[in-house]
């Protein structure tokens, strides 16, 4: 049926591999999607060499937001933080393999916004982080 709901998205939504929390963690950040109230928390462990050694997301949201969080966690484990900082809108759309209108885009990008705000040590996850 709808491209938006490719098998892979429904699969990651129903059976996420990286849902949960990390305790202890080196970085933790949480924020909401103001449009729908969806909430995501991301915990990271980072090695002394600056590589992400483990990552988890928690919270609630739609299939798009949950699947993209799961895919995002998968993609950053083993990567240097410097590379995580470079991720943007296009990285997420590529992982999802779909096109999104402006409202659903916010769902897809929530986890990346939260991730980057955490990595940069910001007080707030703003849209400008992911453009």
């Amino acid at each position: 049926m709808d491209d938006l709901y490719r098998e892979v998205i429904i699969e990651h939504y129903k059976n996420p591999s990286y849902r949960g929390k990390l305790d202890p963690h080196d970085i933790s950040f949480a924020d909401n999607n103001p449009l729908c109230g969806d909430h995501i928390q991301i915990d990271l462990r980072v090695g002394t060499d600056g590589l992400v050694t483990d990552a988890r997301f928690d919270g609630h949201g739609c299939a798009i937001s949950q699947a993209s969080a799961d895919l995002l966690m998968e993609s950053i484990i083993g990567k240097p933080l410097e590379e995580v900082k470079k991720l943007n809108k296009d990285s997420i759309l590529e992982m999802l393999g779909i096109d999104l209108g402006p409202v659903r885009l916010k769902c897809a990008l929530l986890s990346l916004k939260v991730l980057k705000a955490g990595v940069y040590g910001l007080g707030e996850a703003s849209d400008s982080l992911v453009e």
């Binding site: 049926m1 709808d2 938006l4 709901y5 429904i10 129903k14 449009l35 729908c36 109230g37 969806d38 909430h39 609630h60 949201g61 739609c62 299939a63 798009i64 937001s65 949950q66 659903r104 769902c107």
Partner: protein, 408 residues
């Protein structure tokens, strides 16, 4: 007094639109904003093509015409809500600005630290955040009439709250999530007995019910044109004359003044005192046309039609396994059906329905605290208006079955 809905639907050009190739529009999102009949679109069109000019200060023909049309619309709107005088109707951008006007002007002049404002747990953010801001700035106190499990206000608790002598009771006439129609006249009567002023958020009631500000005895009443077949960019605040006259101005600038010196000014009389700068002229004219349109069809007939559709929708939705409905039964509510579907996020419900051109809204509908109360982050919401049909309800129900299949 039944509506000729197929005739009415022809008044709304958008209802003929294809959302994508071969897929028509099933618009079930009128609570967010209504569609616009051609007469409203054309009224603004005509204004721009024939009469456009700045108002009040001009003596040329266009300025006179525009002024007459702008003020004529105010008369129509006043009559629609049975205000005693058009001077009691202030044009604003929307319900939200109307409420903020009261919060900035009346409340900042009249409320001091410790003064109590009573709201309800089913308020839209527009009737919460202005009071949060005032609480932070002034130290006023807020308390809330609770919402019961079945989605109505707990009037017993309200009476107890009134013992604390609130200065203001500000509440929604109709919930945009539960659909609950609150007993506004009674709430106002009790507030007055306790010595409080009242503000009615009528964003959902004025579009769907006969609202009579004098019968309600409302002190302030706020609504938006875009939810009642009118344009975006304009709304109104009704207020009792003595209150409005006693209030300081809100925004400062052209038109709201009687006289300006280099270092001081004298405010204008009502309603101009609260309308600073060039107003939404075309929009006021569109608002007037919307009120004409609704009046001609008749608000009681519209309410009866919506009631019929809502009753049918609740019945059909209830049958679907996994669907949970929020709010009271059809006889206590307007044309709103908010629900959750087990195991599927409301965004996904709305997105999949959209594939079939069915427009419902998903999220917290600007009522996060109410959703929190019910322990859910979001709902899907179908809502109805004079152009809604039972066939559209059937399409919605079929769509929900499709969603279940995909996520099954």
């Amino acid at each position: 007094m039944t509506l000729n809905v197929s005739q009415i639907r022809k008044d709304f050009p958008i209802l003929e639109r294809e959302i994508r190739a071969g897929v028509g529009l099933t618009y079930l999102d009128s609570t967010a904003t209504s569609q616009k009949p051609l007469v409203v679109i054309e009224a603004m069109n005509d204004y721009y093509r024939r009469s456009n000019a700045n108002i009040h200060r001009g003596v040329h023909a266009l300025a006179e015409e525009a002024t007459t049309m702008y003020e004529g619309a105010r008369e129509k709107i006043a009559k629609f809500i049975n205000a005693a005088s058009a001077r009691q109707v202030i044009y604003t951008r929307n319900t939200t600005e109307s409420i903020n006007l009261v919060a900035y002007s009346w409340a900042r002049a009249n409320l001091k630290q410790g003064d109590l404002v009573i709201l309800t747990e089913m308020e839209h953010h527009s009737n919460l955040v202005p009071w949060h801001m005032l609480q932070a700035e002034r130290g006023i106190e807020l308390d809330f009439i609770p919402v019961t499990e079945d989605g109505v206000l707990d009037l017993g608790m309200y009476k107890t709250l009134l013992d604390r002598r609130p200065k203001l009771v500000s509440f929604t006439h109709m919930s945009n999530v539960l659909g609950t129609i609150n007993p506004a006249a009674e709430i106002i009567r009790l507030a007055h007995e306790a010595g409080a002023i009242t503000l009615v958020d009528a964003a959902q009631s004025v579009p769907h019910l006969t609202v009579d500000v004098q019968a309600l005895d409302a002190d302030f009443l706020a609504f938006s044109a875009h939810k009642m077949c009118g344009p975006t960019g304009i709304g109104a605040l009704y207020g009792k004359t003595a209150l409005l006259e006693s209030m300081p101005p809100f925004l400062g600038g052209g038109d709201m003044i009687k006289e300006v010196k280099l270092r001081s000014f004298r405010p204008n009389t009502l309603p101009h005192k609260f309308e600073a700068g060039t107003p939404a002229i075309a929009e006021a004219i569109g608002f007037g046309a919307a009120v004409d349109y609704l009046s001609k069809i008749g608000m009681d007939a519209i309410a009866a039609h919506e009631h019929e559709i809502t009753e049918y929708a609740l019945e059909r939705l209830e049958e679907i396994p996994g669907v949970k409905l929020f709010g009271p039964p059809a006889d206590k509510k307007g044309g709103v059906a908010a629900f959750t579907l087990e195991g599927v996020h409301p965004h996904d419900v709305a997105q999949i329905l959209d594939q079939d051109g069915i427009a419902v809204r998903a999220g917290h509908h600007c009522a996060q605290p109410l959703h929190e109360k019910f322990g859910i982050p979001a709902t899907s919401r179908a809502s109805f208006y004079l152009y809604s049909t039972k066939e559209e309800v059937d399409l919605l129900v079929n769509g929900i079955y499709k969603v279940k299949e995909m996520f099954g």
